[in-house]
């Protein structure tokens, strides 16, 4: 049974050196292919008769409590590698954990925001967007631990 529970190794490695920064206080990571499809209908069609998958624009949404990292590392426009590991419910980081990672230099930080409210922990939200080196290959890779 493949079930996943929590995650670790949420990292951003800025391009140009400095090494990987492991983000902490992360309360959510969401991968989204942002895929779109386009439908066709004509004549007397009352339903779409053709549909093609026409585009993908992969991104990640990250929520974290470490606002210092948000400000210092996840600056708007910063390029690098983003990755995280989805932990297996039974084996943790061992066999069956899945690592999701962007190819080198294809991730870009977009619009980090910080939220502070009285009597609450501050939280930061950031979107990591991606670009494809060749236009045909998803820059996000998936690897399962053996």
């Amino acid at each position: 049974m493949s079930r996943y529970f929590n995650y670790d190794q949420v990292k951003f490695t800025p391009a140009g050196g400095g090494g990987a920064v492991t983000l902490n206080g992360v309360t959510g990571v969401r991968y989204n292919s942002n895929g779109t499809t386009k439908e066709f209908r004509g004549d007397n069609d009352h339903f779409p008769t053709t549909r093609v998958a026409d585009f993908q624009n992969p991104s990640f949404q990250v929520t974290l409590a470490n606002l210092k990292q948000l400000i210092q590392t996840l600056t708007h426009g910063a390029k690098g590698i983003f990755e995280y590991r989805m932990l297996h419910a039974n084996n943790g980081a061992g066999t069956d954990a899945i690592t999701v990672a962007t190819a080198t230099g294809t991730a870009m930080v977009d619009a980090p925001s910080a939220n502070s409210q009285h009597g609450q922990y501050g939280t930061g939200d950031v979107t990591i967007r991606t670009t494809s080196a060749d236009g045909l290959t998803n820059p996000c890779t998936f690897t399962v631990a053996t």
Partner: protein
């Protein structure tokens, strides 16, 4: 920008060098490939959603890892199916900005009975 590896680390800008004697792998050594292009959803491992994704990735480690000489493979979807390889930065084509932009980075075999094509980096 993802790197644009070519066979044996050669680049298009390098002058041609004397052709070395082709290496003859020992009979006992399996032929290694650089990547595979596999049909969407191959191989099916049962389950739905994320469970199916996990089973698929695990089976690719087992079935394609030996062909690349590694235990864990990187999978990503492309417009031609899933590109499976040993390197996180691999792409189907030479990247934008490369002198060979838009050309295939691999020479692909004919698909086998599973629909899997094995590829080697082009020279």
């Amino acid at each position: 920008m993802a790197k644009s590896r070519t066979k044996a680390g050669a680049t298009a800008a390098e002058p041609p060098s004397p052709a070395p004697e082709p290496a003859q792998p020992a009979a006992s050594e399996p032929e290694l490939f650089d990547a595979a292009l596999v049909p969407n959803g191959w191989p099916t491992g049962g389950g739905e959603g994320f469970e199916a994704m996990h089973a698929m990735l695990k089976a690719r480690n087992d079935q394609l890892g030996p062909a690349f000489g590694v235990k864990q493979v990187f999978s990503r979807n492309t417009v031609r199916g899933w590109l499976v390889s040993r390197d996180r930065d691999d792409t189907l084509l030479f990247p934008h900005g490369h002198p060979r932009q838009g050309e295939d980075r691999y020479t692909w075999s004919d698909p086998d009975e599973r629909g899997v094509r094995l590829g080697k980096l082009t020279a």
